[in-house]
Point group: C2
């Protein structure tokens, strides 16, 4: 059911097709984040218009609200949110460790209090899979533990748990129509990352995720980690770099052999009036744009750029009109999806490697890092 | 330029076509309100999808922010907000009297402080027309004064000013591609309403607005006022009942010969989780809807009803996702626009009068009144 066919290569970069029950994913692919079963302020029609192909939703959030059993009873996540293309859910691990309160981790799982109402809950690998089976995404994740990347001892412990939990996650899976990915952990510790890559690769899951990056490490550390991990992964399976990232991160990731990305950055920036533009990231609230009759990006084919001026967007922002967030989200997401389409074309025609420095330069002004939360709140 | 052709009659109800520079309006028509050059949370594409034909925007708000000269310099309101069908602006009078602070009215005009920053401004009939000419809507309004409807002495004074201001507004108009409507005032005072109707009719404007209703008077008073005013207006001009209203108000208005309506009700209700439905207005935050797999209205053809369940909408509301407001706005507006399409069909086939009691009954559960503000905030 989950075939991955590589259609072109450019050194380590690959273009491919990943087959899922809800259609084919053309990789490399960037997934918008729909934390609570909605990409904030956008309808599924908007997502189709910008050619989004994969949407991520968060297991932790949907478990708490509205509840995974409710989603299952309403026909599953695709039907519930009106998105009939491929979906991915994470394992809930990252949010338990970053959002939930007073968690207690043991070898069996994690007990935590909800960030919404303080109620107590427990996730185990078995529970994380049961929830994801109720949600029904096409791609699901093994339960994992994300460590402080610079703490070798803790990273080792978390990695070892992650490995046992990956085995238990696989054991717990009952549905055959969901691709369960194992997650490589190990902080920024070279030895741990190599060990983790080999272990997760040995589980023979239909794809492999790389977790625990973009959590505060340097760009160099992220690249070094990818340079260790990716060569140890099987060639014929898709690789998913979780929670990454900026336009530069995407270019760097593809160069290092990554196929799937997700990040809240474009939509979160949009709700804070910040738009990807050729001259760098624009804060559209700025008075300089009051009479700017140009679209955000003259080369962009999105609805916002084809219809509205910077002056209008600035007016909406100043007047506190929510439509501003919708329109800038459309643009920012389209910008990254268009970047991925462009990269895919270059990989296919063999020019990606030679064009990468120019692409990187072009996107440099949009590249600064933001704090990682991996949910869009 | 502004022809009004009546295509069918059912007693006092009429179906017609009003020709404007941005296309024909099929009447009776309900106009969504886009206070600040946007119908809150909706794109122009959404408005086209629900077959909206006329959008109202508020002169007072756009004058203050972003400024009518800016809108003019950006190509006018249609281009600025990406809405290329007919538009209507009000005179700013109602908002000066209801929203602005510390206003001083004299026979020449009104001095007021902005509700945004307390700055001092002055509207006169000449100024109101100059602003509306900068904005560039297809239908514009003479400057008027809205009184306490039950105060005969004040209503008389306000009406007399409104008449003088209507003459000055007409005198001030320089553009020929905007239909300037005079406004009938007079509170709920029968003698004043009759006097005002005759006076405004005598000005021979291309359409006539009825102001000062739905401001706290009873339904009976509103109907009585329409029964006095409408028969005194020319048959061959469109009649616009400002800021009205509920579904029942629309049915009652059409029965009394009204052609154009606008109201913030559908979009404001939507942002407060309230949806028009066959069984009456639904508060979709209610726990009863948690597992309700039905759309808001099974008979509705809008995107929200064709795509999403009440359970999903409730989830969005509980999770504080702004998409809820967007989707319910789409539905509520479509419900009223569909009601008007239905009424138009019935007028055309001669069945409106006989069907009106049934229509009224059908909409009764959605009919309660809300406080009139006539801006969507």
């Amino acid at each position: 059911m989950f075939e991955f066919q590589i259609t072109a290569r450019n050194n380590r970069a690959r273009a491919g097709v990943f087959t899922t029950p809800h259609g084919n994913l053309l990789t490399p692919v960037f997934a918008p984040v729909g934390t609570q079963a909605t990409v904030k302020t956008l309808t599924p029609e908007h997502l189709k218009d910008i050619n989004a192909s994969l949407v991520l939703s968060n297991t932790y959030h949907l478990y708490l609200r509205p509840g995974d059993e409710l989603v299952r009873d309403m026909g599953g996540l695709h039907k519930f949110m009106g998105w009939h293309r491929p979906m991915l859910t994470d394992s809930g691990g990252f949010q338990v460790f970053s959002l939930a309160q007073t968690r207690r981790i043991d070898d069996d799982g994690v007990t935590f209090k909800s960030h919404i109402d303080g109620s107590t809950h427990r996730f185990t690998p078995e529970k994380a899979i049961a929830i994801q089976e109720n949600l029904g995404a096409d791609i699901i994740m093994a339960f994992d533990e994300c460590s402080d990347p610079n703490d070798h001892a803790y990273s080792k412990l978390a990695m070892q748990r992650t490995h046992r939990w990956a085995e238990r996650s696989l054991e717990a899976q009952t549905r055959t129509d969901q691709a369960l990915f194992g997650i490589v952990q190990g902080g920024v510790q070279a030895d741990l990352r190599a060990e983790s890559a080999k272990f997760i690769a040995s589980l023979d899951t239909p794809g492999i995720a790389i977790g625990g990056l973009s959590v505060g490490e340097t760009k160099q550390e992220m690249h070094d980690t990818l340079d260790i991990v990716v060569p140890l992964l099987p060639e014929d399976k898709p690789r998913y770099l979780m929670g990454v990232g900026t336009p530069e991160d995407l270019i760097n990731g593809v160069m290092r052999g990554i196929d799937i990305f997700d990040c809240v950055l474009p939509t979160r920036l949009a709700r804070h009036h910040s738009a990807f533009a050729p001259e760098g990231r624009l804060n559209l609230m700025n008075a300089t744009f009051a009479r700017d009759g140009r679209p955000i990006d003259e080369t962009c084919d999105c609805y916002a750029c084809k219809t509205f001026t910077r002056a209008y967007l600035r007016h909406l922002i100043v007047a506190k009109e929510l439509l501003a967030g919708t329109l800038i989200s459309i643009h920012n997401l389209r910008a990254l999806i268009r970047l991925m389409e462009e990269i895919r074309t270059y990989i296919t025609d063999g020019s990606f490697e030679s064009r990468a420095p120019e692409l990187m330069k072009q996107w440099h002004g949009n590249a600064e890092r933001t704090k990682k939360v991996r949910v869009d709140e």
